[in-house]
């Protein structure tokens, strides 16, 4: 009888949340005892392992703050010598620049997803500064207090 090895995949989890830190997400994965490799980074986590396990882990992490945790595939496994900074003498790894640019937009994308979830209709672009809504102010205060 031959055993077929399951395909290994890697996912990049980018955390742009006020409630969840990369370390919290990493601890959650350690607790879950899935056979995956986790690497904590400045923007979130890199998870490598058998496809089914990685997909389940990623879904669990996403549920921690689903509109502010973003996930994408990655070609190279975590800690791969061809990409890892430890073996390349430092500096940002190839592919990080684009990620860094996108990370700047993530708070706005997350807020838009929150609004979409609340089923708010698409607002027309307003010219000039308008009055701040009470609900928006509450959201800002909550975000600041959560830090």
């Amino acid at each position: 009888m031959t055993e077929t090895k399951q395909e290994e995949i890697t996912k990049v989890i980018v955390i742009s949340s006020d409630k969840v830190l990369p370390v919290d997400a990493a601890m959650k994965i350690y607790e879950s005892e899935f056979p995956v490799t986790v690497k904590e980074t400045c923007f979130g986590l890199i998870v490598t392992g058998p496809a089914d396990d990685v997909l389940e882990v990623v879904e669990n992490i996403r549920q921690l703050d689903k509109n502010h945790i973003f996930v994408k595939d990655r070609g190279f496994p975590a800690g791969d010598e061809r990409r890892c900074r430890a073996s390349r003498g430092g500096g940002p790894r190839p592919g990080f620049h684009f990620l860094r640019e996108e990370v700047k937009m993530l708070p706005a994308i997350g807020a838009a997803l929150d609004e979409l979830e609340e089923k708010e209709p698409l607002k027309e672009k307003t010219e000039g500064k308008g009055k701040l809504k009470v609900s928006d102010l509450e959201r800002i205060i909550e975000a600041e207090l959560a830090r």
């Binding site: 595939d73 620049h97 684009f98 706005a108 979409l116």
Partner: protein, 172 residues
């Protein structure tokens, strides 16, 4: 579940949104994974096989710079699978592996030629733009056929086959 081609091909935001709405993003990362984790390749990090230049030649002529053909060897097969596409104009960074403008133009041209449902949006630069960006993409993705529809179709096909089989049994 539709296979959605995304441009920029390695975008985190687009890949995430497509997956969030139950579709499959056709991103270049999966193609790269096949290249870099395949043990049959002789000499990583030179991850190219004799087949790759031939695949690239399907999309760009031999006079075209090899970089275009090399990139198309990865991206071309994705375009062939495409069932829908999201193209973001003016992304902030176009350097590195996605920095070849000729490849990007060719890629967008091939997607438009395919005449699949395509959404073209501008990369957001403010919160207001981001809201509009997400709303447009969400509406587009929700309009695409979901997995259930295809399952329903399959079930319908199975039913027809079962009825045919029953009919044949009765005849016998």
């Amino acid at each position: 579940m539709a296979k959605v081609f995304i441009y920029p091909v390695n975008s985190l935001i687009l890949a995430d949104l497509v997956e969030r709405y139950g579709h499959k993003p056709l991103a270049v990362m999966n193609q790269v994974r096949e290249k870099v984790t395949n043990i049959s390749l002789d000499s990583p990090p030179v991850n190219i096989t004799p087949e790759d230049p031939k695949i690239g030649l399907r999309y760009a002529a031999v006079e075209v710079p090899p970089g275009v053909r090399g990139r198309m060897a990865l991206i071309g097969p994705l375009i062939e699978e495409t069932e829908a596409a999201i193209i973001v104009e003016n992304p902030p960074t176009n350097f590195g592996c996605v920095g070849c403008n000729r490849t990007n133009e060719l890629m967008k041209y091939l997607v438009r030629e395919k005449e699949v449902p395509t959404l073209e949006v501008v990369y957001p630069e403010s919160e207001e733009d981001a809201r509009e960006f997400v709303y447009k993409i969400a509406a587009f993705l929700e309009s695409l056929p979901k997995e259930k529809d295809k399952v329903g179709e399959k079930k319908g096909e199975e039913k027809v086959e079962e009825e045919k089989a029953e009919g044949q049994e009765e005849e016998q």
